[in-house]
Amino acid sequence: MTGSSRRAGSDGDRDGRLPVSLRRIATSPATLATFALLVVPFGLGWLETRLFSPLALPGYLIFTIGTAIGNAISPRLDFWVYWVPFLGGTAGIAVVAGFGYEWWCDRRDGGSSERL
């Protein structure tokens, strides 16, 4: 996808409610990178402890704090169940990051044209 087609997509969406299209947010490199960073290093450590690394820390914190909250509410749930809200939550965080990145790209591109 080129820079011009990305801008075209966002221009069309400005008539709607979102300043950036959902498709563009979902495929944004920021969205995918954030999701991968939160899930992959943590998932590797979950499979085998020695594969935990500093990169797993964000996912580890989200998952562990999530289980602490969930365990306080519903103590009988097995901990593997928390993968469902974990994946949902990290996807949400990734979407917010992707939205912010795409919005910032639009602002930057718009600002450059005005200066020209």
Partner: protein, 270 residues
């Protein structure tokens, strides 16, 4: 072009994981474990195997290893709960260790029926609730185990366990904690384990130590109460830790307890 960018990004993330994991991995403590496995310089000492509750369903081996030098007696228990495999496997390995001083006594499968059935409780219920204060042990198995403890008069007792969650983070769970009698060195043990085996990027897995009240019905509490032993209940966790890591933590905990109480000597400190 974009696909190539994504592939390069993915490869970079995986490389970053591998490099950062390798660089920041805690050192473990191979020197201490080597000292535990090797014969001491002063000689081989002696070892023999006995049987607790011989001829009953609960029959289980007890390994007694005498060091060439005088010193304290330490007893290590695994399998008080039959489904806590990390402690059982570590205790089996510890039965091959060679202390530098004193006597090491190991019972790897304390509740053998529960171990065989891979269950927490045995035929008489939870063994670790059958040693009440001011009363006799509450089952044939508990009485047999206690007879063995009294026969050896240990100065140090270590009971190896695992929990499903983390102490003070998950309700009802006690993982990554060391409960100890007031005179034992639980805080030091927790510090050493954290230095050796818990990486900084798993902060909730840091061990915590807590003194026990000695009024409860647990085996280590009974040993501290009745015999004045320095007693430890070691709990690792299954939460985000695999089996080999739980065994490693149990093994390290035992080695540090033996070193802290003078059964192992490591040149230059452990």
């Amino acid at each position: 072009m974009r696909r190539r960018t994504y592939l390069a990004g993915g490869a970079s993330v995986l490389a970053g994981i591998a490099v950062s994991g390798f660089v920041s991995r805690p050192p473990s403590n191979e020197r201490l474990l080597e000292a535990a496995r090797e014969y001491p310089d002063a000689g081989e000492g002696s070892s023999n195997t006995k049987t607790i509750l011989s001829g009953t369903d609960h029959e289980t081996p007890l390994y007694e290893i005498d060091a060439p030098n005088d010193g304290p007696t330490a007893m290590v228990f695994g399998g008080v709960h039959g489904d806590e495999r990390g402690g059982i496997e570590a205790a089996r390995e510890i039965s091959d260790w060679r202390p530098d001083a004193g006597t090491l006594v190991v019972v790897p499968e304390t509740n053998r029926v529960a171990v065989e059935n891979n269950e927490r409780r045995g035929v008489d219920g939870d063994l670790n609730r059958q040693f009440p204060a001011d009363r006799e042990p509450q089952s044939e198995l508990a009485a047999g185990i206690w007879d063995a403890v009294e026969a050896h008069q240990p100065d140090v007792v270590l009971d190896l366990h695992r929990s499903l969650g983390i102490y003070s983070l998950h309700r009802e769970f006690v993982g990554q904690a060391i409960f100890h009698s007031p005179d034992a060195r639980g805080e030091r043990l927790a510090d050493r384990l954290n230095e050796d085996a818990v990486p900084w990027y798993l902060p909730f897995h840091k061990f915590t130590a807590g003194k026990t009240s000695l009024t409860g019905p647990l085996l280590f509490q009974h040993a501290a109460r009745e015999l004045g032993a320095s007693a430890y209940l070691f709990e690792t966790t299954e939460f985000l830790l695999d089996h080999s890591t739980m065994v490693e933590l149990s093994r390290l905990a035992a080695a540090h307890v033996l070193e802290l109480h003078g059964l192992l000597e490591v040149g230059g400190g452990a």
